[in-house]
């Protein structure tokens, strides 16, 4: 099980990193989202894996470590706030700079963006 989780975390990280290194804001946003899934799972894993019941008293004898869960919750909320901010920032950048390139300029390699005139 641990191996499976580790592989999942690895795959998520890889995909996230690859997208984070793209040139368009949208790809980067999705990359960061994937990366934050990986990170959340990673934090979650820091308490060890427990199958069965949650850290709710009275339901079972063996409890999962509740602290990483709380940390992940905080991380999810903060990640949500940050993603929201980033999405709007990307919109603003697109509106102001005319394209959705992460550097705000289409660069020499980029083909003209069809919608940028809209």
């Amino acid at each position: 099980m641990e191996l499976v989780i580790a592989i999942v975390i690895g795959v998520l990280t890889s995909c996230g990193v690859l997208l984070v290194l793209r040139a368009h804001t949208f790809a980067v946003v999705l990359g960061l989202t994937l990366l934050s899934y990986a990170v959340n799972l990673f934090i979650f894993a820091s308490g060890g894996l427990t199958a069965g019941k949650g850290a709710v008293l009275g339901q079972t004898d063996i409890y999962a470590d509740p602290l990483p869960q709380a940390l992940v919750l905080t991380a999810i909320v903060i990640g949500f706030a940050m993603t929201a901010f980033l999405v709007i920032l990307a919109i603003r950048a697109r509106a102001e700079l005319g394209n959705d390139h992460v550097d705000g300029d289409s660069g020499s390699r980029q083909h003209p963006d069809k919608e940028s005139r809209l």
Binding site: G52, K53, G54, Q59
Partner: protein, 89 residues
Amino acid sequence: MLNQIVLVAMLVIGFALLLNLWALLRGPSMPDRLLALDTMYINSIALLLCYGIYSVSNLHFEAALLVAMLGFVSTVAVCKFMLRGDIIE
């Protein structure tokens, strides 16, 4: 015994999820994929219900309810997006 049967049921649903993924990847159109995603939400609810029986715990009920509610909202939102572009207009 009941446990075993529920486990088998879960595997069946798991298989259904894999089929959904297949449909999702295959498409070919966006509504097809969205339909696959929506089915995936519903199958997840099924899985959660079975898992509740399997682990003799109704801690997962809220999760199932939330999947239902939120799956609905996000499917609708994507549809609205494809129809109108602006989902909040």
